[in-house]
Amino acid sequence: MESTDNESLLSRSAMSQGQGKGQPNKPRAGSSSSGERQLSRSGSLIKPIPGSPIGDDDDLESGPIEPDVGCCDPRKWWFRWMMLVFISFLGFGSYFVYDIPAALESDIEHAMNVNVAQYSLLYALYSWPNVILCFFGGFLIDRVLGVAWGSILFAGFVLLGQAVVAIGAQSNLFWLMLAGRFIFGIGGESLAVAQNNYVVRWFKGKELNMVFGIQLSFSRVGSTVNLNIMKPVFDSFSNITPAYSQLGAAMWFAALFCGLSLSCAVILLFLERRTDRVIKRDVGGSDEKVNLKDVKDFPLSLWLLFIICVGYYVGVFPFIGLALVFFESKYSVDSATSHALTSIVYIISAAASPVFGLLVDRTGRNLTWVIAATAVTVGCHVMMAFTFINPYVPIIIMGFAYSVLACALWPIVSLVVPEHQLGTAYGFMQSVQNLGLAVVAQGAGILVNSNGYLWLEIFFSICVALSVLASILLWLVDDASGGKLNASAKTRKREAAEKERAALIAAAPPSPSSSPSMGNRMRPRTPVELRNRFLTRLGIEKPVNLRSLPLAQPSLLR
């Protein structure tokens, strides 16, 4: 299912054993079409700030171009937050349905007359295909469908899959239920990619980190709601017999949430179209088309992000999945306490992610947060491996660290790759994450049986230490290239303002009454222009890479 942020399969598997699943926030896929345009103050079409389909609210609110936009003006700040509501519910059905097998494990086994191994196929058939599928899902969004239609398609798969599951249950055909889970899986993870794309599309340059936190929080809510209401729902259909029909009824109930998600996808499509119409975004497609071969050209920074993602999540989700017995055997706690301990990370992430997201938005320096989160998580594992400190201490700290990482890591992708590759990048990221989680989950079980929890904790510590290593490398690489990924919020804001100003200048129409050079001379000079002029007067030759830019026109340097 989705994976949004990252949690992926494994996490889902972990939850399937009793804890809620959680979904991570998902990064979004690309939006777009690259090439969107937005209105300048003067009403002309300008190139948008990368990642922000709409640009800054204030600019848009004052735009005179569309005098009558009705009640839903996409240039208003609240429109963006309304979009967030629909984006959040877009994935709710998927998150809700994913953990139904966990919520109804014994009922499914009884009603369908299957054993535990067969039951576990309900998760396996979802997870393994998504090692590949969500990558292609992201690519489809970038290359063919666009985020809006992609969302509808994948939400449709989610609904179709759950419907097939329900039919399978009602027909007492377990293989049909498995087929339904597979179909559900095709849509679930890719829908998460689309969700991430939407988030970046609407919030990049604004509250992106916080919104990723909100998405993570919402995914937890979906899982938690499912785990708490599905059993009562199943019991409420007790008048339906036989048992598999009762199960089928419960599955149809769950399908309603998938229908809700599909409805949100359709609404988002209309809202996107309205936005395109109002701010005259270019919906004709991007000048730059993503290609599968682009993967090999992904920048080093993105590969390091993949390593951070895989290293961190395989060190957290499989651990949570296996921690029940660990807490019971090492700390001699009872089963209820052990369950409480394993659910703490998810509970904290649900509550703290938006808060930390806001904090990251305010401070910037995403890489610093990532390094801190990964390093602290290593410390938590070390604490649990080599000490008998009360397990609440490391697990609570881990919950906060996980929340920080989820908020700070995923938005970085949008700073590393161009917008037209976002979906592919996020899809690839989730694919490798799913692969890592699927492999490590199985390997971890073998490791515990053969070498015990000490080695398991060491293994997880090293996995997360690997992500620390990659984080540090990313920091060095980024620092050597200007420190864009670890820039403070203030710096980012200033750079965004400069960028926007430059875009405005570049798109300013030439005055009919004067020559182009005259028009350029009349507008205020940017700091770069002033510096270039100063350097030129000193007799210093301007850099080669600036010679062809409008800002370095000979007329400006005179």
Binding site: V325, T387, F388, N451, W455, L469
Partner: protein, 437 residues
């Protein structure tokens, strides 16, 4: 080497002079290669079957302290410096039982036991087994019954009377066959086996005495130390009482006694559960169950013994964690002291007659709460009884290497990276030039 000693190794190594260090390293090398070289370094074992194979006597003689001058003379091993642990193992007239006696000086001729087979057959405590020099410490253990209980509450614990007892198999009433073996591949390791093989239930109790500490390769992978005797209980095809319940599990009745040490007040024996962060040898097990006799806190200067086990038993010969369950007692304690409890008539009862200091019983339950494993076809469980301190698991070299590599590399990179970044920025500040682009 003189006992009581705990594990041999580290503390001495830390303060040993270089030459000694080299010697110890060589000894470690020899230990590692011992399975190939058939060499044992720490103790010498002399085993014999007595009285028509009804009694096995195993004498484990400590070699001289390698730090002492006697070490240079190998012949002095049997006469100088070494201590002596004598194990008496028998199923004569009883369930398989074990008694260990400790003499601090193996060179004393009085440490050799005199055995009167006729008196032994008559259970004449005054004449059956006698020492010229009384042991300074003795302890004994008997596994005297197998209990089938109904684990309806799925606690995995036998807690009468709240737990229903389905059947009790009195092991003292069975006819046992005994055998003492010295495997050729481990010439100095001695095993003795008592078996009860019937049409329905097979029970085997095996005693192992080793001249040097080694780790059992099979789960639970516990240390079998040179100063202890390892006891393994193996039950198969137990005849469960079908009419009682289909949710029954097994428990073993245990009797533990000690004597000849400083006089102790009954009920001072307390089980402890020393924790270890290391479960690499016994996955999921982070504790030992251990009893020190007499209580080390009360009698710190006296000779001590111990009874210990890892709280795990297996319900399949595969011995994997998947079929492992707890081996526990109620409240992790022995049963309360009861003056009416006695050792079953056995070799230990003869040895400790008149010298008994404390005696306690315990019911070891085999099972984990809600594990769903009932009436297992197989049960495997082991414990150790010995002199000195119980062996403990230390973190392995592999773990240390993994930690060093896994955490060291990121740490080094962070430091190096920080230094590089610092100098780069410092240089950029010095130049005062900012790249135009």
């Amino acid at each position: 080497m003189r006992l009581p000693a705990t594990s041999r190794s580290s503390p001495a190594a830390a303060s040993a002079p270089p030459s000694t260090m080299m010697l110890m390293m060589m000894m470690m090398l020899v230990l590692m290669l011992s399975p190939l070289l058939l060499v044992s370094a720490d103790r010498r074992i002399v085993a014999s079957m007595e009285c028509s194979s009804s009694l096995a006597v195993v004498r484990s003689i400590g070699l001289p302290n390698p730090d002492s001058a006697d070490a240079a003379n190998a012949d002095a091993a049997n006469t100088m410096g070494g201590d002596l642990i004598t194990s008496f193992w028998s199923s004569l007239g009883s369930a398989p039982s074990l008694a260990v006696a400790y003499h601090p000086n193996a060179s004393d001729p009085g440490t050799v036991p005199t055995i009167d087979c006729d008196a032994l057959a008559r259970f004449d405590a005054a004449k059956a087994i006698t020492f010229g020099t009384q042991p300074s410490f003795m302890s004994a253990v008997v596994i005297d019954k197998l209990i089938e209980f109904d684990d309806k509450g799925q606690t995995g614990l036998y807690d009468p009377p709240s737990t229903r007892t389905c059947s009790v198999l009195d092991l003292t009433s069975l006819t046992w066959e005994s055998q003492l073996t010295v495997p050729k591949n481990k010439p100095f390791t001695t095993t003795a086996v008592a078996s009860y093989l019937s049409k329905y239930t097979n029970i085997t109790v095996q005693f192992t005495v080793t001249p040097s500490t080694f780790r059992n390769g099979n789960p639970p992978g516990d240390l079998i130390s040179e100063n202890a005797v390892k006891i393994d209980l193996f039950v198969s095809n137990f005849t469960y009482t079908k009419s009682c319940s289909n949710t029954t599990k097994l428990a073993a009745g245990l009797v533990f006694a000690d004597g000849n040490g400083p006089v102790a007040t009954p009920n001072q024996l307390v089980m402890s559960a020393p924790s270890s962060i290391d479960d690499e040898y016994t996955p999921t097990i982070f504790h030992m169950v251990q009893i020190d006799v007499p209580p080390a806190k009360v009698y710190p200067q006296s000779t001590h013994g111990f009874l210990s086990w890892k709280p795990i038993a297996f319900t399949d010969t595969g011995r994997s964690i998947a079929n492992g369950g707890f081996a526990r007692t109620i409240n992790d304690e022995f049963n309360p002291f009861n003056p009416n409890d006695t050792l079953p008539q056995s070799v230990p009862s003869l040895l400790l007659d008149g010298r008994l200091r404390d005696l306690r019983t315990a019911n070891i339950s085999f099972g984990t709460p809600e594990d769903g494993i009932y009436q297992p076809p197989v049960l495997l469980w082991g414990l150790s009884i010995g002199i000195g301190a119980a062996p403990t698991d230390d973190i392995s070299v592999a773990v240390l290497l993994a930690i060093s590599f896994g955490f060291g590399v990121p740490g080094v990179l962070l430091i190096v990276g920080s230094i590089i970044t610092f100098f780069r920025r410092a240089r950029a500040r010095r130049s005062g030039y900012t790249a135009i682009n």
